[in-house]
């Protein structure tokens, strides 16, 4: 069986800076795949390239067997692929309800999008309480929920979540991950998640890719990488000599 999402030799540049240099990865139907890597490794760029937010210089991105068009975010969204971006990007001046509705407008009819709104709201009781509040007034955790809910409104089969833990208290991060797991169970979602650190990921992910300097350095199942040593090495690019290097191990571990 072929992968649901497959990137092969993807290259992306910002002017003269090469952000992705021949990146390849795969996500299978129903999997939770995690992309981890340090600051500036190219995690967000990978997701933006998939979602059509940046131009791809070379390589192929296939979703459910078809090649995704480059730089056509609104068409890619209609194919069942949705992005929860880094920093959440809720529409701050729009209400919670309006933020969610935006995702539902591309559904074929109003009744269906109303039903979707009902169902999505069910996953996030906290949002229901702030229904008419401007999204900009929500707490970081609530904004993260809203951003996930908004992505669900587009009726996706694969959701990409960029650093869901960014700037959130650990307890809230746990809640966010619980909801993501619940969504996989109940909605049959496939998930691609970016994180800077691996410690939570090892519990939730099926497979892990480590990215550094615009390319995949290591990949394996969560079980294979459980002890964290290989991840640490790939993450910092030390090869085998992690112990002597005296690296700030907190970041990766």
């Amino acid at each position: 069986m072929t992968a649901m999402l497959a990137l092969a030799d993807v290259e992306v540049r910002y002017g003269r800076l090469v952000a992705l240099r021949g990146l390849s990865l795969e996500v299978g139907q129903g999997e939770i795949v995690c992309l981890i890597g340090p600051n500036g490794a190219g995690k967000s760029t990978t997701m933006a390239a998939i979602a059509g937010g940046v131009a791809r210089v070379a390589g192929s991105i296939r979703f459910e067997g078809t090649e995704l068009p480059a730089r056509k975010p609104e068409r890619i969204a209609r194919l069942g692929l949705s992005l929860v971006p880094e920093g959440r990007h809720v529409f701050g001046t729009l209400t919670v309800e309006e933020n969610l509705r935006i995702g539902g407008y591309m559904r074929p009819n109003a009744r269906e999008s109303a039903a979707a709104l009902e169902r999505v709201a069910g996953y996030f009781p906290k949002l229901k309480e702030r229904w008419r509040a401007p999204a900009g007034r929500l707490s970081g955790g609530e904004q993260q929920m809203l951003s996930i809910g908004r992505a669900l409104m587009t009726n996706p089969r694969l959701v990409m979540v960029d650093e869901p833990s960014l700037g959130l208290a650990p307890l809230i991060v746990d809640t966010v991950y619980e909801i993501l797991l619940e969504l996989r169970e109940r909605e049959g979602l496939t998930l691609l998640i970016n994180e800077q650190s691996s410690h939570r990921i090892l519990r939730f992910a099926d497979r892990i890719y480590v990215i550094r300097n615009g390319a995949i350095q290591l990949h394996g199942t969560a079980d294979e990488l459980r002890d964290g040593e290989a991840i640490k090495a790939a993450y910092f690019g030390f090869g085998a000599s992690v112990a002597q290097a005296g690296a700030p191990s907190g970041a990766a571990a």
Binding site: G53, P73, A77, F91, G92, T93, E98, N99, I102
Partner: protein, 304 residues
């Protein structure tokens, strides 16, 4: 007192024209980061569309002589087509260009329209008589006001109400606000970027058409640069109100109109020729105190 009240109504009437122009400019700025100087020329086109294209000094009304219930939608349609064509042929190919590039392109469009009008209609200003019945005066509690002033203020309030209802409740309105706040994010959620932008151009075209008719009915004169000062003052209004904020554009428009009218009325006669210099001094003071404008747009504040 009566005199002062009359000045207030004059000020509100001028201010509402500026507010309508500022709304048209502010709407496109919010979504596209485009400072559209050609907006004034959309107004010019609306006004010229009333007469027969010819270089004769005497204007021959064609559309201008139709019943208002037909005239208004036809002029709106013409300006909307011009505005949307500008988008398709000029701004769409520049979608990923920087804000300064877009602004320069809008200058180019502006000059093209001005010179196109010059070629088709000749260089001399033309007198036209649109809706002369509206210049009759009514007396309200001792105030004698031309009906036109009241129609202008009423039209502006009406258009602003319709527009805010549209932006607040219509599905395309909500998508427009989302796109104005974070264009790429809206696209990630399936909002059709080009359609929303085209719609914004259409709305700005309707606003320009309304101004062209109200303004022409007031001045009775056509000239190929008639829209330029309107766009300039409206641009100032947009900056004073807060770039990218629609309530700001309206407030700024009224404020600039009020300041201009009041300076005209109350400056010593010797200084009146310098009225605009005083207006702009006032603008600079406002911007020194509130650099982001009176009602800064949240989305822009976050961007910086």
């Amino acid at each position: 007192m009566i005199n002062f009240l009359q000045n207030v109504i004059d000020a509100l009437s001028l201010g509402s024209l500026y507010a309508l122009v500022a709304l048209g400019i502010g709407l496109l700025f919010g979504i596209l980061r485009l400072v559209n100087f050609a907006h004034g020329d959309f107004i010019t086109i609306g006004a010229y569309s009333l007469i027969l294209p010819s270089t004769n000094v005497v204007a021959t009304m064609v559309i201008g002589s139709w019943h208002w219930a037909v005239l208004i939608p036809v002029v709106c349609a013409i300006v909307v087509v011009v505005a949307m064509a500008t988008d398709v042929f000029v701004f769409r190919p520049l979608r990923r260009s920087s804000a300064p590039t877009l602004m320069i392109a809008s200058f180019a469009v502006s000059y093209m329209i001005q010179n196109g009008v010059l070629m088709m209609y000749g260089a001399r200003p033309k007198a036209v008589n649109l809706w002369s019945a509206l210049t009759t005066q009514v007396t309200i509690g001792g105030l004698r006001e031309p009906v036109l002033q009241i129609v202008t203020i009423g039209t502006t309030i009406g258009l602003m109400l319709v527009m805010s209802l549209f932006l607040k409740h219509a599905r395309w309105g909500v998508q427009m606000r989302a796109a104005a706040e974070d264009f790429l994010m809206a696209q990630y959620l399936g909002v059709r970027g080009n359609f929303v932008i085209g719609l914004a151009f259409a709305v700005s075209g309707i606003l320009a058409a309304a101004v062209s008719l109200l303004f022409l009915a007031q001045t009775g004169a056509l000239s190929n640069v008639m829209g330029v000062p309107l766009a300039l003052f409206a641009f100032v209004a947009v900056v004073v109100g807060g770039m990218g904020s629609l309530p700001g554009a309206v407030v700024g428009g009224f404020l600039v109109g009020i300041v201009t009218t009041m300076l005209q009325a109350y400056l010593p006669p010797d200084l009146r020729v310098f009225r605009d210099a005083f207006t702009f001094t006032f603008v600079i003071v406002v911007l020194l105190v509130r650099p982001a404008g009176l009602i800064p747009s949240r989305s822009i504040a976050e961007r910086v």
